[in-house]
């Protein structure tokens, strides 16, 4: 059975540059000037999972992103990895969205793809969290908007098993594991479904030179507010976000940073002394 899979991708500021993030003390805004954008790392695991489904069962892989126009370069990378088509939802009306508004916008984007392609998605895959906000909320909320069952923190998706016709699991059922504290939960999930995947699920492939060449001829469709004609302003962008940002603070975690000096043996003695004065029983 071929699968139509959608993968949600977020372009994020490169975590290597988080030291460069500053706060404008007057305007209370975050300045991230000069920080390059990056394919949110764990979203690559979601794309890899989708590509493997296509390789094994045939089908299609569409990637979708809600981002400013420069997000197109990340979608181009997804196409080079092997996605068939890409959709960028970009409009000032989408800006300032919290997770509820973001998932709502993605939901309408996915519905529009289904309409244009004249198929229904079997799986919608997301990374389990983004490197910048790290709320980990979008995949579950997207599942709610789509009215599909959803699982978060998926680290194992076993080969589909075909249930007996008319039986409890008619159609294709996946055996899936999700990470929990000190262990895992095992599930049986039937498509259509939404999954937020973890970085342990697979090892994302590198883009090949051939992939990059092929990607040049693949379309990136740009949709704005007007294109998502069935979406309601009540749930879009900053205005449609139930949460609103208040004050922001830079966190100053700086400490005195006194360097211990001497031979290694002398340094070890100093460390032991510091631990003792701070209530750690050492060698007593």
């Amino acid at each position: 059975m071929p699968y139509n899979v959608a993968v949600c991708i977020k372009p994020v500021p490169d975590p290597k540059y988080y030291d460069k993030v500053t706060i404008d003390p007057v305007k209370k805004t975050i300045t991230r000037t000069g920080i390059p954008i990056l394919f949110n790392p764990v979203d690559k695991n979601a794309l890899e999972a989708a590509l493997r489904l296509r390789e094994r069962y045939s089908g299609t892989v569409a990637v979708i992103s809600m981002a400013p126009p420069e997000g197109a370069e990340i979608l181009r990378e997804a196409l080079a990895m092997g996605a068939d088509s890409a959709y960028l939802l970009s409009d000032r009306a989408f800006a300032g969205a919290d997770t509820l508004a973001t998932s709502y916008t993605l939901f309408h984007g996915l519905k529009k793809i289904e309409k244009e392609k004249n198929y229904l998605f079997d799986f919608v895959l997301c990374g389990c969290e983004s490197a910048d906000g790290a709320t980990a909320q979008v995949s579950s909320q997207l599942g709610e908007w789509l009215r599909m069952p959803h699982l978060w923190n998926v680290f194992l998706m076993d080969a589909a098993e075909t249930g007996k016709a008319g039986g409890e699991h008619e159609g294709n059922v996946f055996s899936v594991k999700t990470k929990i504290e000190n262990g895992y939960m095992e599930w049986r999930i039937k498509s259509p479904a939404v999954m937020g995947v973890s970085r342990e699920l697979n090892k994302p492939r590198f883009t090949s030179a051939m992939g990059i060449v092929k990607a040049r001829n693949k379309p990136i469709t740009l949709w704005n507010r007007a294109d998502l004609s069935e979406a309601d302003d009540e749930f879009l962008g900053l205005k449609g976000s139930p949460t609103q940002p208040g004050e922001i603070f830079a966190v100053d975690l700086k400490r005195s940073g006194k360097f211990l000096t001497g031979t290694h043996e002398e340094i070890v003695k100093q460390i032991v002394a510091i631990m003792k004065t701070n209530g750690i029983l050492v060698g007593d």
């Binding site: 490197a131 906000g133 979008v138 599909m148 923190n153 949460t243 609103q244 400490r255 100093q270 209530g279």
Partner: protein, 340 residues
């Protein structure tokens, strides 16, 4: 009408997760700052859990809204979201708090989406603001920035809080008032998402040794440890000190240790009396999880390593030149003493 502060009490293998007591303790503080008409209530979902409701009362829940049914024995977002959103819809809480556990992280935003309301994720603190509204403090950019999140219009105002960051008060025995949720009216069996998703089982292997959060001294290893052999020394050191070993993301990636001891935004938050780091570079994602430590000592051969900016004491040296010497010095058999 009085303000209602709800706390979802997560049940895991028949026991209430500690974060529920932390949240209830905080909810009582929130109720005080709102005023006399505010009250704390809890939600409890599972199978054979009625006896646990009394514990929630001891931490301040005046009413426990409970759904106790064999179909709820294992967590599933499909059933639990439906039950909790149904309860919230019927009773209209003003604030609804969840633990940011693995289950809470999947459950809380789904409940919020069902109720079309706002939720602040993985908060490091919450309080009541000037307009008697919930103010949630949320870290972003790996903890480099903390932002306030408000939910000015829609209700309930929701938040998930990481386990171990709020302080649990001491319990006081009080009689519990249980309000049972009838499941038949929710028609769970008729929902397609319920029939599509079947929780099969839960497997847990609680780690041996002292839990990271309870350790007075944490010995943390990063990429600079360099290999699994050296990692064993680090674990030995942690054990000899009566503390616990922790790690950063690269140490997990190198498979020197298990992810459950990882400290940082996507791992644990710790606040030991002493943090002793070896070969830790100091990525913001890690620093966010250890910055509440008492005294911070770090050994790194790179004098420019960012970790030194957030350390009280720095040692510029190869982690593996200090580690064995320190281990000798602190071994309980007093090897170091004998040598003297």
């Amino acid at each position: 009408m009085g303000v209602k502060i709800w706390v979802h009490a997560e049940v895991f293998e028949g026991e209430i997760a500690d974060v529920a007591f932390e949240l209830l303790s905080k909810a009582s503080v929130l109720a005080k700052s709102i005023g006399e008409d505010a009250k704390v209530e809890a939600t409890l979902v599972g199978c054979g859990i009625e006896s646990k409701a009394a514990l929630l009362a001891e931490y301040g829940a005046v009413t426990v809204h409970m759904a106790d049914d064999s179909s709820l024995r294992l967590y599933s977002p499909a059933t639990y979201v439906h039950v909790l959103a149904g309860m919230a819809d019927a009773h209209k809480p003003d604030i609804y708090l969840f633990g940011a556990t693995a289950v809470g992280t999947s459950l809380a935003p789904a409940v919020a989406a069902r109720l079309k309301t706002g939720i602040a994720a993985h908060c490091v603190d919450i309080h009541i603001g000037g307009e008697k509204e919930l103010v949630a403090l949320v870290p972003s950019f790996g903890g480099k920035v903390i932002g306030e999140i408000l939910c000015p219009v829609r209700r309930p105002q929701m938040a998930s809080v990481k386990p171990g960051v709020l302080v649990k008060k001491s319990p006081a025995p009080v009689p519990v008032n249980i309000e049972k949720q009838e499941l038949s009216s929710l028609k769970l069996n008729e929902r397609p998402d319920v029939s599509q998703l079947e929780p099969v089982k839960t497997e847990r292997h609680p780690p041996e040794g002292l839990p990271l959060k309870e350790a007075d001294v944490v010995v943390c290893g990063g990429f600079g440890i360099g290999g699994s052999k050296n990692w064993q020394l680090l674990e030995e050191l942690a054990q000899s000190l009566g503390g616990a070993a922790a790690c950063t993301r690269p140490a997990v990636d190198e498979k020197w240790c298990e992810e459950h001891i990882m400290v940082g935004t996507s791992g644990q938050s710790i606040s030991p009396k002493v943090y002793l780091g070896f070969g830790v570079s100091g990525a913001t994602h890690h620093v966010c999880g250890m910055s509440k430590s008492g005294v911070v000592i770090n050994v790194n051969q790179d004098a420019e390593a960012p970790i030194f900016d957030v350390s009280d004491f720095c040692v510029k040296a190869d982690a593996n030149s200090i580690l064995p010497l320190l281990l000798d010095a602190v071994r309980p058999d007093g090897k170091a003493d004998r040598r003297e």
